[in-house]
């Protein structure tokens, strides 16, 4: 089995650097998801691992062996492409068998492996069809089957579900997760959809503009985002960000004054650990919509008055889109149904223990790590 290591990997096209010094250690059997907005370099990084793009700097190691100069065909990885990339002139069987034929596998073995994979992916009845005669989900399964038949040590997925409709996407997500559990192979999965990342990954790598922003388990990223970008990217709807400043620093923590309520310095102190802040330092306070509570002021919270602009009632949950006195916007996610109407003024509570504090500078690193 195989682990994968990236050591200072970089990619440049002429003067443009698209991947900056990426270090990553993927353990054997791990399901790692690369997530980030379009153009962040996640696909490029995956293609570099696959051997389809050259490496400008740094080393890629598979099982401790440096593979920078090993061709894609020789690396022994399998990849599932966004467009599926099925060979349109071959039947499903031929598509699945092509890789094995290239390895000069005996015909009987090819047949056995193709049928095994077809059975696993419920493609038995489709083996004689051409890709054009298949539905999106079936094509996707053929693409995965093509990867499976060669028993690769590492699977690479490049946004494999982005061409499917929502329902099929949920189904295929479960199938890929089940596949990972069954095969126990290392899988690297690229997506721009944070829900896919959260639901499938053992570990998530968040990328932005060719840099790794944070690596961690889904809940680590959710609970302790390392900077404002990660905080905003993980979680749906997006985390609310409110600007303010440090009102005072005490031994117990920092008191915060928000622009939305400048005179009401919070009575509760936000515990700070390991990072030093100074009074009057501008900060950004983040809070997830699901942590905001409505109604009477509670202790240990920041209280704000908000005007409801829009309400979405989903039955089991409600989303309130509010505006604050400072002109900032605040999204509230509350369980169950609410009685409010548009234009109502409500008191919102931001429990201080659920807030995230970020530096207001460009880097926007997290200040408070709870």
């Amino acid at each position: 089995m195989a682990g994968l290591q990236l050591k200072g990997v970089a990619k440049r096209y002429g003067a443009t650097t698209v991947i900056h010094h990426v270090d990553l250690d993927v353990k054997d059997g791990e399901f790692v998801v690369f997530v980030g907005p379009s153009g962040c370099g996640k696909s490029t990084l995956l293609r570099m691992i696959a051997g389809l793009e050259s490496v400008s700097d740094g080393d890629i190691l598979i099982d401790g062996m440096r593979v920078n100069d090993v061709s894609a065909a020789q690396r022994g990885l399998a990849m599932v492409f966004q467009s599926y990339a099925l060979y349109p002139h071959m039947t499903v069987y031929q598509n699945l068998a092509f890789g094995l034929e290239n390895l000069r596998t005996p015909r009987a073995t090819i047949e056995a492996k193709v049928h095994e994979a077809a059975q696993m992916l419920r493609l038995d009845a489709l083996l004689e069809r051409r890709p054009t005669q298949l539905s999106g989900g079936q094509r996707q399964r053929v693409a995965i089957g093509r990867a499976i038949v060669r028993d690769p040590t590492i699977f690479l997925f490049d946004e494999p579900l982005s061409n499917l409709d929502a329902e099929l996407r949920v189904q295929m997500r479960a199938e890929i997760t089940a596949l990972h559990a069954r095969l126990g192979a290392t899988m690297i999965y690229v997506t721009h959809d944070q829900v896919e990342a959260m639901t499938m990954a053992d570990r998530i790598v968040v990328l932005r503009a060719g840099r790794v922003e944070q690596v961690g388990t889904p809940l680590e990223l959710y609970n302790r985002p390392g900077n404002r970008f990660v905080a905003g990217f993980i979680g749906s709807p997006q985390m609310n960000f409110l600007s303010g400043r440090i009102a005072a620093v005490h031994e117990t923590g920092a008191h915060i004054a928000l622009d939305a309520a400048p005179n009401a310095a919070s009575d509760a102190a936000l515990p700070l650990r390991g990072s030093s802040v100074t009074a009057q330092q501008p900060i950004r306070l983040g809070i997830r919509p699901e942590h905001v509570t409505l109604g009477a002021a509670t202790a240990g919270s920041l209280h704000l008055t908000a005007t409801i602009d829009r309400i979405e009632q989903l039955g089991a949950a409600s989303f309130l889109y509010c505006s604050l006195g400072s002109g900032e916007r605040l999204t509230v996610h509350t369980a169950g149904q609410v009685e409010y109407a548009r234009g109502n003024q409500v008191t919102v509570n931001l429990p201080i223990t659920d807030t995230h504090l970020f530096d207001a500078s460009d880097a926007e690193a997290a200040l408070a790590l709870r």
């Binding site: 389809l52 065909a73 966004q82 990339a85 002139h89 890789g99 290239n102």
Partner: protein
């Protein structure tokens, strides 16, 4: 068949034919006659005997004089319709003719001879195809050799053209390397050089390589065509790169990617190029004329040319050969024309 009727009776409106309908059909008919008339005449004439070809005024259909076997005569005798002195007409067989006097007999009563002025007899003719034209050219001349030479050159040159041009197009469309565009432009720019200009240098090269009077001397200089490279490259650009990446992930060597993925997917463009190449090589005249000077190496086109003798031309054979020469290109064009349009369209617009 029904669709053919629909096409042939298509009209502008639903009711009575408009004047534009008459005009359109008239125009199309004129075009048909202009384009097809000569071909039709050629085909019909190729079935005429040497005598029928020299007839004046010429007949459209091939006719031959009817002959009849007469008892007591070795050969069948030609039949004539004779106007007798009493004004009646009879069909008689001619035994011999001396000057303006012909001796004829009645085939049913061959003992009685009639002497008539040749102006009073007209040959009895019937529609008859002189298929001998076609069989005799194989027997009397080395037509089979010419045909084989032409077929060999056409088939081999087309296969090599397809392979070489496809390889060049694959590299130019799917690999990123320095100077790729320069190479492509260089290849395309050779289109601007008329072949006649490089005739002499080409001849010197072929001569130095000892390929004169060899069929390969006709094949090799023609296989690298800028048109073919351009056509195939434009088509291959439309093959998604992900397919090639997928094949690489599937352990395919570059040659296997080319052979198993790119070539099959380029089939429409390859078909177009194959059609073009067959037509070019088959109809090629100037270059074979220069390279091939020995009769046994002649292609059909050269043979046709050589057949026009200095003193006499055996038109009935020449016409038959011309028809045979036309056939392959006609078939290729008729059956593959839809590939030509789709192939060119898809290669032109991405």
């Amino acid at each position: 068949m029904a669709s053919l009727t629909t096409v042939l009776t298509a009209r502008r409106g639903r009711g009575r034919p408009d004047w534009t309908d008459w005009f359109s059909y008239g125009y199309l008919l004129l075009g048909l006659v202009l384009m097809f008339g000569p071909v039709l005449w050629l085909v019909l004439s190729s079935f005429k005997s040497a005598a029928a070809l020299n007839e004046f005024p010429p007949q459209l259909l091939p006719y031959g004089q009817r002959s009849v076997a007469v008892a007591g005569q070795e050969k069948p005798l030609p039949l004539y319709r004779v106007t007798m002195p009493d004004g009646s007409t009879r069909e008689l067989a001619e035994v011999r003719r001396i000057g303006i006097q012909a001796t004829l007999v009645d085939p049913s009563a061959p003992d009685l001879e009639y002497k008539v002025n040749i102006r009073d007899r007209k040959p009895v003719r019937e529609f008859r195809l002189a298929t001998g034209n076609y069989t005799e050219i194989f027997r009397e001349f080395s037509f089979g050799t010419y045909l084989w030479n032409s077929v060999f050159i056409t088939v081999v040159a087309t296969l090599i053209t397809l392979l070489f041009n496809a390889m060049a197009a694959f590299a130019l469309s799917k690999y990123r390397f320095g100077g790729r565009d320069a190479v492509f432009l260089l290849i395309i720019s050779t289109l601007m050089i008329p072949p006649t200009i490089i005739l002499v240098p080409n001849f010197l090269v072929v001569s130095q390589l000892g390929l004169l009077n060899s069929l390969w001397g006709v094949i090799w200089p023609a296989v690298a065509t800028p048109t073919g490279v351009f056509l195939l490259r434009q088509y291959m650009l439309t093959i998604p790169d992900e397919l090639i990446d997928a094949a690489r992930m599937d352990h395919a060597s570059e040659w296997r990617i080319f052979w198993r993925i790119v070539l099959p997917l380029s089939a429409p463009a390859l078909a177009v190029l194959a059609i073009f190449s067959v037509m070019w090589r088959w109809n090629d005249f100037l270059w074979p004329l220069i390279v091939l000077s020995r009769t046994e190496k002649f292609t059909l086109q050269l043979a046709l040319n050589a057949f026009q003798g200095e003193l006499t031309t055996q038109w009935h054979y020449l016409l038959a050969m011309t028809v045979i020469t036309l056939l392959p290109v006609t078939f290729v064009f008729a059956f593959l024309q839809k590939y030509i349009t789709t192939g060119i369209a898809s290669a032109g617009v991405k």
